[in-house]
C-alpha cells in the first residue's frame, strides 16, 4: 500500500476509516515488511531522543561551537514576561533546546532536517504535557508528521540547499500542524488543510545561516516554526479552509524554492549571513 500525494492519502484514510498515522504505519509495514512492533519500537527510540534534547538545554545551557547561540531555551522558561500561555511558551523553549543540543554536538533526531529539528518535538512534547497525552499518542503524532514529511520530500524538497528555509522549517511546521490536528480529533482532511496553511504562511522563507552554521537564525526560525504550526492547526480546527489544497501548496513550495536565487539557499551568501554583522561574525568564527 502506498500513496504519492495528499489526495491519495485522504482517499486511503477515508476508505479504511483510519487516521493518517495508521495509514502511514500500514504503508511502512507493507513496503518494508517490518512488523508493527519493530517499527514502533524504533520510533520510540527517536521519541526518547526528542524528549531528551527538548529539555537538556533548559537544565544545562551550553554555548554552541560557533558561539552564536546557547542558553535561549532556559531564558524563555525563566522570562518574567510570558506573552504566550504555557503550551506555546514550553513548545518554543523545547524547540530552542533541541537546536542548542544540536549546535553543541549533542544527539538529536533530524525531523525532517537537523536545522529544523526543534519544531516537531517542541510542538508534540508541549502538547502532550498540556493535553495529558501519553507515548502512544506521541507515536501517533510522529507517524502523522512523517506522512506529511514524506509527501514533502517526495513532491517538493526538505533541503535548505534546494528550497530555502521554507523547505526545512516550513516543512517541519506543516508536519507538526497536521499532527496537532489529528491528536486533537480533526479528520485527515483537516490535517492536510492545516499543513496547507502552515506552508502558505512561510512560503519563500530564505535559508541564510550566519557563518554557514546551523545556529542563527536557524534557532529562532524554529520558534517561528512552532508558532506557525499552532496557528495553522488552530485555523484548521476552527473549520477554516485554505482555498488552495495541500498538494497544490506543496507544488507551489517546490516552485518557489526553484525561484530562490542560490545566495538564499544555505550558501551563507545572502540574507542574515550577508549583513555587515553577519560577515564580521563569520570572520571571527573562522579566524580570517
Amino acid at each position: 500500500m502506498d500513496f504519492v500525494n495528499g489526495k491519495e492519502l485522504i482517499k486511503t484514510c477515508e476508505e479504511e476509516g483510519c487516521p493518517i498515522s495508521v495509514t502511514m504505519l500500514t504503508r511502512e509495514r507493507t513496503e518494508t515488511l517490518e512488523t508493527k512492533e519493530d517499527i514502533l519500537a524504533r520510533l520510540k527510540v527517536s521519541l526518547d531522543i526528542m524528549k531528551n534534547s527538548a529539555t537538556t538545554s533548559i537544565e544545562n545551557p551550553t554555548k554552541s561551537i560557533g558561539g552564536l547561540i546557547g542558553g535561549e531555551a532556559k531564558k524563555i522558561m525563566d522570562s518574567k514576561i510570558k506573552l504566550f500561555g504555557p503550551l506555546l511558551t514550553k513548545a518554543i523553549a523545547y524547540s530552542q533546546s533541541v537546536l542548542e543540543v544540536n549546535a553543541t554536538m549533542g544527539l538529536i533526531v533530524a525531523a525532517p532536517t537537523a536545522g529544523s529539528s526543534g519544531v516537531v518535538p517542541g510542538v508534540l512534547i508541549a502538547l502532550a504535557e498540556e493535553y495529558d497525552l501519553g507515548d502512544e499518542e506521541l507515536l501517533s503524532g510522529l507517524l502523522n508528521t512523517s506522512a506529511i514529511g514524506y509527501l514533502l520530500m517526495r513532491n517538493a524538497s526538505v533541503a535548505g540547499a534546494e528550497g530555502g528555509c521554507q523547505a526545512e522549517v516550513g516543512s517541519a511546521s506543516a508536519m507538526a500542524a497536521s499532527a496537532i490536528v489529528e491528536l486533537l480529533g480533526g479528520t485527515p482532511a483537516d490535517c492536510l488543510n492545516a499543513a496547507a496553511f502552515a506552508i502558505s504562511n512561510i512560503l519563500g522563507m530564505v535559508c541564510d545561516p550566519i557563518a554557514g552554521l546551523v545556529e542563527s537564525p536557524c534557532q529562532n526560525r524554529n520558534a517561528i516554526g512552532v508558532t506557525n504550526a499552532f496557528t495553522a492547526a488552530q485555523l484548521a480546527l476552527a473549520g477554516i479552509t485554505h482555498p488552495v489544497p495541500f498538494d497544490e501548496m506543496v507544488d507551489a513550495m517546490l516552485k518557489v524554492g526553484r525561484q530562490l536565487p542560490r545566495e538564499l539557499r544555505e550558501t551563507a551568501l545572502g540574507g542574515c549571513a550577508c549583513t555587515p554583522t553577519g560577515c564580521d561574525l563569520s570572520c571571527k568564527i573562522f579566524g580570517q
Partner: protein
C-alpha cells in the same frame, strides 16, 4: 523512485549540528574503517575539500571524521570527545585543508589510513546530503560505493578471468549477486571489483576468492 521510509523523515538520529557536515562525515569515515578492517588505523590523515575545508570547525566535521575512524556511528555521543579518545588510544591524526583542488562535490574528504606497519589504504568520501554518503575513490582509483548493502571488494590486476573466478566462487557458495561493478584506472593495472550480494558471505568464500593469481586483496563489508 527510491522508497522514502518514515525514518527518512523522522531521522536520522544524529550528533549535530549538520547532517551533511557532521553525520555524513562520521558515516564516511566509519565506512572507511570497515574497509580497513581487520587492520586498525594507527595514523590517519584527513584532507578536506570544498565546504568541508571552509567550515569544518564550526560543524565539528573534524571530530565526526575522527569519531568514524574510532568506530563510532553517527549517533554516538562519544563523537564530541573523539580527539580526547583518539589521544588516549595513541592514534595519530592530522587534518589538512585543501582550498585549491577542485572537487566535483562540495563536501569531500580524503581519508588516508596507516596501520603503523606499512599497510595503508585511502578512500575519498563525499557527503551527498541528509547524512547519506558515498566513497568515490579507493587508493586513488575512481569507484562508487555507498556501503548500504553487503559487498565484496576485490583489488586485482586487470587481467582476464578475474570476474569469472569471483562469480564461480560465489555460485559455489550459493550466494546471489545483486549487482557487480568493475573499476580500473588503465588497462592491465590495478582494478577494483565491487560485488553487492544478497546473502551472508562466509570467510571461507572470501578465502576462496583470494586464491587467484591476479587477485591481490579481498575485503568484505557485511551490513
Amino acid at each position: 523512485m527510491e522508497f522514502i521510509s518514515l525514518f527518512d523523515v523522522i531521522g536520522p538520529n544524529m550528533i549535530g549540528p549538520s547532517s551533511s557536515h557532521t553525520a555524513g562525515a562520521a558515516a564516511m569515515s566509519l565506512l572507511a574503517r570497515k574497509l580497513f578492517a581487520p587492520q586498525k588505523p594507527k595514523k590517519v590523515t584527513f584532507t578536506l575539500y570544498g565546504s568541508f575545508a571552509n567550515t569544518y570547525k564550526g560543524h565539528g566535521t573534524d571530530k565526526a571524521l575522527l569519531g568514524g575512524i574510532l568506530g563510532f556511528e553517527p549517533d554516538d555521543e562519544r563523537i564530541r570527545d573523539s580527539f580526547k579518545i583518539a589521544d588516549e588510544m595513541g592514534m595519530n591524526y592530522t587534518f589538512i585543508e585543501d582550498h585549491d583542488t577542485e572537487v566535483p562535490h562540495s563536501n569531500t574528504a580524503d581519508i588516508f589510513m596507516d596501520n603503523g606497519n606499512g599497510y595503508t589504504f585511502s578512500v575519498r568520501g563525499v557527503s551527498v546530503g541528509g547524512g547519506k554518503i558515498k566513497l568515490t575513490k579507493f587508493n586513488g582509483i575512481d569507484v562508487e560505493f555507498t556501503g548500504e548493502y553487503s559487498a565484496i571488494i576485490v583489488r586485482q590486476i586487470d587481467k582476464p578471468g578475474v570476474a569469472a573466478h569471483i562469480t564461480k566462487c560465489l555460485a559455489d557458495a550459493n550466494v546471489n549477486i545483486a549487482f557487480m561493478d568493475l573499476f580500473r584506472e588503465s588497462k592491465g593495472q590495478t582494478a577494483y571489483t565491487i560485488v553487492h550480494v544478497d546473502e551472508h558471505v562466509s570467510q571461507l568464500t572470501v578465502d576462496n576468492i583470494s586464491e587467484f593469481r591476479y587477485i591481490e586483496e579481498v575485503k568484505l563489508v557485511q551490513v
